[in-house]
């Protein structure tokens, strides 16, 4: 178990700078998730921490050791890969025990440890199978077993669940969470799936174009997004973001025909307004509401989302409603905003409401 510190990390492939001056502190035992759109450099950052990728600038510390120039094995981290990366010519037992075998441990200790790990991951009956005889979930459990057995200072997960189907993904997500609770080892987890990020993380690091955009707990990121990027990235369905301007303290939405809404603020220079699907209440149309027409409806069982066209630059506003309401398409409705949890953004996309801290 260890803390990991990144200091001013930069990395380029040829002329393309993929990581730009990243500073990050990961505490002992923390579960940190790197999240961001594809190509944002999150996997590269993980590979830099693992030592599989060298860096152009900056330093990496594990606890207080500078490991910047150390080879992957000496950093004592272990990694779980997206493609599982099991050794196809070795059976489950050999796969799990491989790293200990290369370190020259005694045979009886090795097999005892492998069996112990197999028990934790419910793989006891599969020890003699080859990877090709395993299902996707079993393969990923073997990969996790291979990572655990070394008793590493930290786990690195590189999109470990994206090759699994939806049900298995949820199951394995729980398993990883359970394992982290049990072992308490520092973990870094890379994903592009923000649901995985929200459910697993103690701390989420949102990356875009090689830079850290925001770091925080899932709660902070959801409720206090630092800018438009984080606001749009975290949360399903996406946050509604609309262009606006202020007059006399009131917010006017910019559109084909500008519309005043029932929100007032003392903040200056509000150019964009963001609100989640549950911060709007659907009501009958009256003069205090924003008028719109229901265009689409997504029924999910426990909840349903309606997409309302309010004639604002062809943008649809997503609203969460109770699944019991019978939705009639093309029906005229009124939108009423709750005053809390409205996010205001300035021209350059930064949040201007007061932050949590």
């Amino acid at each position: 178990m260890a803390s990991i510190t990144l200091k001013n990390i930069s990395k380029s492939f040829a002329d393309n700078q993929v990581i730009k001056n990243v500073d990050l502190e990961i505490n002992d035992g923390e579960f940190v998730v790197f999240v961001g759109p594809s190509g944002c450099g999150k996997s590269t950052l993980l590979r830099i921490i693992s030592g599989l990728e060298d860096l152009n600038e900056g330093k990496i510390f594990i606890d207080s050791d500078n490991v910047t120039d150390k080879i992957p094995y000496d950093r004592a981290l272990s990694m779980v890969f997206q493609s599982y990366a099991l050794y196809p010519h070795m059976n489950v037992f050999e796969n799990i025990g491989f790293s200990l075998k290369t370190s020259g441990i005694k045979k009886d200790i090795l097999s005892k440890k492998v069996v112990e790990i197999a028990k934790i991951l419910r793989l006891e009956d599969l020890l003699n199978r080859l990877p090709k005889q395993l299902s996707g979930g079993q393969k990923q459990r073997v990969a996790i077993g291979r990572a655990i057995i070394r008793e590493p200072k930290a786990f690195l997960f590189d999109e470990p669940l994206s090759n699994l189907d939806a049900t298995l993904r949820v199951e394995m997500r729980l398993e990883i969470s359970r394992l982290h609770k049990k072992l308490g080892i520092t973990s870094i987890y890379v994903t592009h799936d923000q649901v995985e990020a929200m459910t697993l993380a103690d701390k989420i690091v949102v990356l875009n174009e090689g830079q850290i955009i925001q770091t925080g707990t899932p709660y902070e990121l959801y409720n206090y997004p630092k800018n438009l990027f984080v606001a749009g990235f975290i949360g399903t369905p996406k946050m509604n973001i609309l262009d606006c301007y202020q007059r006399g303290g009131f917010i006017y939405l910019e559109g084909n025909k500008d519309k005043k809404i029932n929100i007032k603020t003392k903040l200056m220079d509000v150019k964009k307004i963001g609100f989640r699907s549950d911060n709007v209440i659907l009501s009958d149309p009256n003069k205090n509401t924003l008028l719109g027409e229901i265009k689409f409806c997504e029924y999910l069982g426990s909840e349903q989302f309606v997409y309302v066209d309010c004639d604002i630059n062809d943008k649809l506003i997503v609203i969460k409603i109770s699944p019991k309401i019978k939705v009639v398409l093309n029906k005229k409705v009124g939108l009423k905003f709750t005053s809390e949890n409205i996010h205001f953004f300035s021209q350059n996309g930064n949040r201007i409401n007061q932050n949590l801290n």
């Binding site: 590979r47 599989l52 080879i71 890969f81 050794y87 010519h89 370190s103």
Partner: protein, 408 residues
């Protein structure tokens, strides 16, 4: 269109098979009996055509008895009414042999018709049946022609090598064997090659050179290919694409300067020269083939091995080589065959008969003093080992070439 009808298919297949087998069996008759037979296709063509129509009309009711009756009817039609005309040119071929030839021709033609027209109805055919029919017909014809092209020269080679000088001069076309002669006279050429012509040495030399070439090639090309597939280094792209350029230069162009250089450094008349030159020509291709295979393997496996504490060299031995066994075996086999069959450089470089390789040794037999059956025996000796190795490792070769080629 008329070719979409089963009737046309039956006429087409029947006449083609009849004529085809007539040609083949005339050729076989010539090769076995050593008598020049005249080719007469017409009879079998017409009989094949008729039996094709017969088959397509009655295929559902044909029993084993009718099969046999048809074959005999076909045979008798040719044999009785024309008195064996297709094979009846030379009086020295007796009637029983003619009958057997005609019978075989008829039987094989009938079987082929059965094979081609199976489940084809007489009327207009569906697209699936039609495609199936033509593909099956072409496939069958192609396969048989290909087998014959491969086997006939081999057959002639073996038969000639087993003959003695006298019978060879008497009738070079006669490939029949005198089965009554004892082992020693039959294999006389082989025995003489090994006793008087040092072929045991040639065999050993060839084997030695080929094995060393395979070893050296793999020794350099496996790490090289791994590096090209996995590591990032400057000018990698240039290097990996220029490696194959050596094949733009024909070896006849290379052999003259090489001859001059090796003469000057005194390596010319030695096996070492071949051991230097052969890998130089095989490594690029080996590198190219193996690189393709290595890059088809997931690089995350290598990353996992790095995390598990292996060095790159250990990864090559413990991960890359075990995973690419088929590719390595096929590359090794390919290199072995190139080295074993190589002639030009061996011919230019080697003067001393004690270090001849097989191909060079066979060349040395090609003179007026050495009987021709010795040459053939030498060729058989050179072919057999490669054939055995190839047949044994063939399954690796096919899977290796395909897996390496598909994913790049």
């Amino acid at each position: 269109m008329f070719w979409k009808y089963g009737l046309f298919c039956s006429i087409f297949a029947g006449s083609i098979w009849g004529a085809f087998w007539q040609i083949i069996f005339t050729m076989m008759g010539i090769l076995t009996f050593g008598i020049p037979l005249e080719l007469d296709v017409n009879q079998m063509l017409i009989i094949g055509l008729v039996s094709g129509i017969f088959y397509i009309n009655f295929q559902k009711t044909i029993s084993m008895k009718i099969h046999l009756t048809t074959i005999f009817t076909m045979t008798l039609l040719v044999y009785v009414f024309n008195f064996g005309k297709p094979y009846q040119i030379n009086e020295s071929l007796n009637n029983i042999n003619i009958f057997i030839l005609i019978f075989l021709t008829s039987a094989v033609t009938w079987i082929s018709i059965n094979f081609s027209l199976n489940k084809i109805s007489i009327g207009k055919l569906s697209r699936y049946d039609l495609e199936n029919f033509y593909i099956k017909l072409m496939w069958g014809l192609g396969l048989i022609i290909f087998i014959l092209i491969t086997l006939v020269p081999f057959y002639i080679m073996i038969m000639t090598s087993l003959k003695n000088q006298q019978s060879l001069i008497l009738n070079p076309l006669d490939f029949s064997l005198n089965i009554n002669s004892d082992f020693k006279t039959l294999f006389n050429s082989y025995i003489e090659l090994f006793t008087d012509f040092n072929f045991h040495l040639f065999l050993m030399n060839s084997f030695f050179v080929s094995c060393v070439t395979v070893f050296i090639t793999l020794f350099f090309s496996i790490p090289g290919a791994y590096a090209l597939a996995r590591l990032r280094f400057p000018s990698k792209k240039l290097f990996s694409s220029s490696v194959i350029l050596i094949y733009l230069i024909p070896s006849i162009v290379l052999v003259i300067p090489l001859y001059a250089i090796f003469s000057q450094i005194g390596l010319r008349n030695s096996l070492l020269a071949l051991i230097i030159v052969y890998p130089a020509t095989t490594i690029p291709v080996a590198l190219y083939m193996l690189r393709g295979y290595f890059s088809s393997l997931s690089s995350e496996i290598d990353d996992a091995a790095l995390m598990d504490g292996l060095s790159r060299v250990q990864i090559i031995f413990k991960i890359a080589i075990p995973l690419s066994k088929p590719a390595i075996v096929s590359v090794g086999l390919y290199v072995f065959m190139i080295a074993w069959n190589e002639f030009l450089i061996a011919f230019m470089f080697l003067d001393d008969p004690s270090i001849f390789t097989l191909s060079r040794g066979i060349m040395s037999l090609n003179s007026s003093e050495v009987p021709q059956q010795h040459l053939m025996a030498g060729a058989v000796i050179a072919t057999i080992p490669v054939m055995i190795i190839f047949l044994y490792l063939e399954k690796f070769l096919i899977s290796g070439l395909s897996t390496g080629g598909v994913k790049e």
